[in-house]
Symmetry: C2
Subunit: 508 residues, 2 copies
């Protein structure tokens, strides 16, 4: 066919033997990367624009060999990577990868199915149902969240996606209940959370059209460990009801981002129920810990929630993107997010005997994310996953004990999981500049301490500000982090703090 | 530390040598999968619930060896896969993977950075800027979409995400212009599209709180190849304005899903400009083709758009998820989607000299998707990518010619790219049952033909219904699809249709 034989002389971008050869090269590249990862500064130290300067202005015209490309990855990309997989990474919350997860990502990318409905890849849908039921059992979530009771689990890309989807589900349900003139009532809907709730909730509200004025970010206090107060919630709800507004959605957190605080789920969700408010429990970080019986009590009261989510891509040996969401009534999601275009009509969907996950999420297409979660669960087993959680918690306990025993430091809130929040103790400050308080100086020194530690490139931590107090957060959870790395961190913290305190001891 | 040495005896889920060994096994598993892919039925033939029956009810307690897990993938997962990478896959639109892309996915998974802002991984942000600028040049998009003119590109997970983000940007901009009492006006905003626009737009409108009643899905006609009519658009806008509604957003399509129709971009965007309507051009499928000079004319008029998106995960050798979006004014996105929480504050962001992509998308966290797109561009070069597009178009031209020359078939709309829409020709039907028309019978026979072809397991196609006509869509674009596969398809089409027509020749 055609006038010349271009087709037959063509490259085949999925030729199996070339695929094999090149992919083996990259496996070795990455294995070497993990072997050498401690040689790189944890947080990248490049300047803005570094890569633009070294890359050509245009895409290459001709194909380039993988060997050349990998050299460029080593030379140009790796210096600009902040090494989240480094054992010295203690920033934000970790995203801890694993070999089992990596194999799952390889398989799902290799198959590259777009499992929007059951038929588009039955294995993708059914494995997602199986894996979310497995985890439901591991977390001892109530049966009401199971597919067997008209609930069910789905894997989203992020907590924000879970916020958006549950907010829409709640919004549509509420507007339907209110009846005919519904759309106009959109501006009366109110969402409740605490000032410790992840800021993604604010964005999710913005996305679904809830006015920022109608998001009640209720103030929390250090004196009660930054938990959302039932009294304050009730006061806010009653005030809104009196003003003619409509309470819609309450977000509770199991392990807040600043300090890993845990809201009292049972009391708060009971208040929400009284006002027909949708209660979502966001356990993005700490949900993973609840597979250990000794931490399961943090989830007590989850039976009062309408929906629950956690991120295996934080502390469950799984890479981005992977957020598991369960709902008690799957029709809440599907009523709000379904479409049924002619193009996708098929007998399995028509039979209503299958789950079509496109109706549980924002986008149509979806990656086969269940594959990686399944590979993780099988590669490490429940005991292996529990071992990882316990190791990190133990390392954090140890660090907390050392900080508490040292007069130069203050552990600002009690540690719940594997994240420790500390600062330079105001009590350690013998003299303070005029017009300044011990707290001001402690903030300044803690900030300076963090900068000086991060600058070494050996560790990376981030900060939070809570009730005006600047704290260093040490989130222990990178897969490669071991006892020696936390010991090294503790040595560094003592040494850098001593230097700083000595410098400030002579002030004024 | 601690009372027993649990920590030291622990497994390391990222131990480099075990990573290396297991990942090499999976490389070989996938290379063999591609070698054998033609042995599997293209569309999975399992029954609903097949996997639930064969999997244990609970997660395994103990770790399992990779060899056992891979046996289960072969035995239980692969039969439930619809093989989108098979050369016999002609359904929906393809998602065509490649070795270069696969290597990119390996690297990005291996690094597993969460590049929400520049500092979280400078390479991830800067490579995304570089790659989107490269593609901007390849597509000859106007400079106004470039970072150099306050525009810029971002990689989203899906077209639906691009719809949502541009809708929010348009919504917030419009509400701000309208002034103080803004939120109440949300229910007056109107979105325009055609009845051929991808149904994801409807969902995106639902997500951002635009009433389904305010989405104008303007009817198109076969006589003008299902293009959105400027007159019909103008009529709809004027009618809404008279009714006190506020025109907000127009979605134009380059390569619609049912038939790959191309809306007249210039004329339509000029109308939109007159009414201060945001114009988005969705080139999810056909955008890739426009890197070939001979297809670039389809993009003429894109200079009138406010935003433009296409999916490398369809026809650009890249796997899910990868949708590139460009905007002319990046502050439209960042005004609507930014947040600035204390936890993420850093000097680079404060300097305003860097891009923080979290403010260009829904979620906070994001995968390092630029890596795979960069690997694709370098592995195949512009010429390689053009070669792939041209091969598929040529195969489609050939199939179209054969169908047109055969009296048993009708090519229902002219082919623009590499997708052919055909049916059993009503003219080939010598007798028709009482009370039925030639068109009714053609619909019935075309549907039966599709089912019988798909049932062979050798090929997989899907359908569309346009102006009451049931058509088979042949989307040619899987990476492994070659001349022999399209020839096989054509032989099968003729054979199955002859059988069907013979059976129906004696009706009445």
């Amino acid at each position: 066919m055609g006038s010349h034989n271009e087709t037959s002389s063509m490259m085949n971008p999925l030729e199996p033997e070339e695929f094999r050869r090149q992919a083996h090269l990259v496996v070795d590249f990455l294995a070497d990367y993990y072997s050498n990862i401690e040689k790189y500064p944890v947080c990248s130290q490049v300047e803005p624009g570094y890569l633009t300067k070294s890359m050509p202005k245009s895409a290459p015209l001709k194909p380039e060999p993988i060997e050349t490309i990998l050299q460029d990855v080593q030379k140009h990309i790796i210096p600009g990577i902040t090494h989240w997989q480094s054992p010295g990474f203690f920033g934000y919350f970790q995203t801890n990868g694993s070999t089992g997860n990596f194999l799952g990502e390889m398989l799902l990318t290799g198959f590259n199915t777009a499992g929007f409905n059951w038929l588009a890849s039955p294995a993708a849908t059914e494995l997602e149902m199986i894996v979310t039921e497995w985890i439901l059992e591991l977390l001892q979530l109530p049966k009401s969240f199971s597919f067997s009771s008209n609930g069910g689990g789905v894997i989203h890309g992020s907590t924000c996606e879970s916020f958006v989807c549950t907010l829409i589900a709640a919004r549509e349900k509420k507007l339907k209940q209110l009846g005919a003139d519904q759309r106009g009532d959109l501006c009366k809907l109110v969402v409740y959370c605490s000032d410790q709730t992840h800021f993604s909730l604010q964005k999710a509200c913005q996305v679904v059209g809830i006015s920022p004025d109608n998001v009640r970010s209720i103030q929390t206090k250090k004196s009660v460990n930054f938990q959302l107060s039932p009294d304050a919630l009730l006061t806010a709800i009653e005030s809104d009801v009196r003003a003619g507004l409509i309470p819609l959605y309450l977000c509770l957190t199991l392990g807040t981002t600043p300090t890993t605080a845990v809201d009292p789920l049972l009391t708060l969700s009971e208040i929400a129920q009284r006002y027909h408010i949708w209660t979502h429990v966001d356990a993005a970080y700490a949900g993973s810990a609840c597979i250990c019986p000794e931490f399961r009590h943090f989830l007590d009261g989850v039976e009062g929630a309408t929906s629950f989510s956690f991120n295996p891509h934080k502390w469950f040996l799984t890479t981005l993107d992977c957020c598991c969401l369960w709902v008690k009534d799957q029709t809440d999601l599907t009523n709000a997010l379904s479409n049924d275009p002619e193009l996708l009509k098929n007998k399995a969907s028509d039979s209503k005997q299958v789950v079509d996950y496109k109706n549980w999420q924002i986008a149509l297409s979806r990656r086969f994310r269940a594959m990686k979660l399944w590979m993780v669960l099988r590669s490490y087993g429940v005991t292996g996953l529990q071992q990882v959680i316990r190791k990190h918690v133990k390392l954090a306990q140890h660090l907390e004990a050392q900080l508490s025993a040292d007069g130069n430091f203050e552990v600002v809130v009690p540690r719940n999981f594997a994240t420790v929040c500390f600062r330079v103790s105001p009590l350690a400050l013998t003299s303070v500049p005029n017009g300044s308080t011990n707290d001001d100086l402690a903030n300044h020194l803690t900030r300076t301490l963090l900068e000086s530690l991060n600058k070494t490139g050996l560790v990376y931590m981030t900060h939070a500000v809570i009730e005006g107090i600047y704290v260093i957060r040490v989130a222990i959870g990178a897969t490669l982090t071991d006892e020696k790395h936390v010991n090294m961190l503790w040595d560094m913290v003592q040494e850098h703090a001593s230097g700083l305190l000595a410098k400030y001891a002579d002030i004024k």
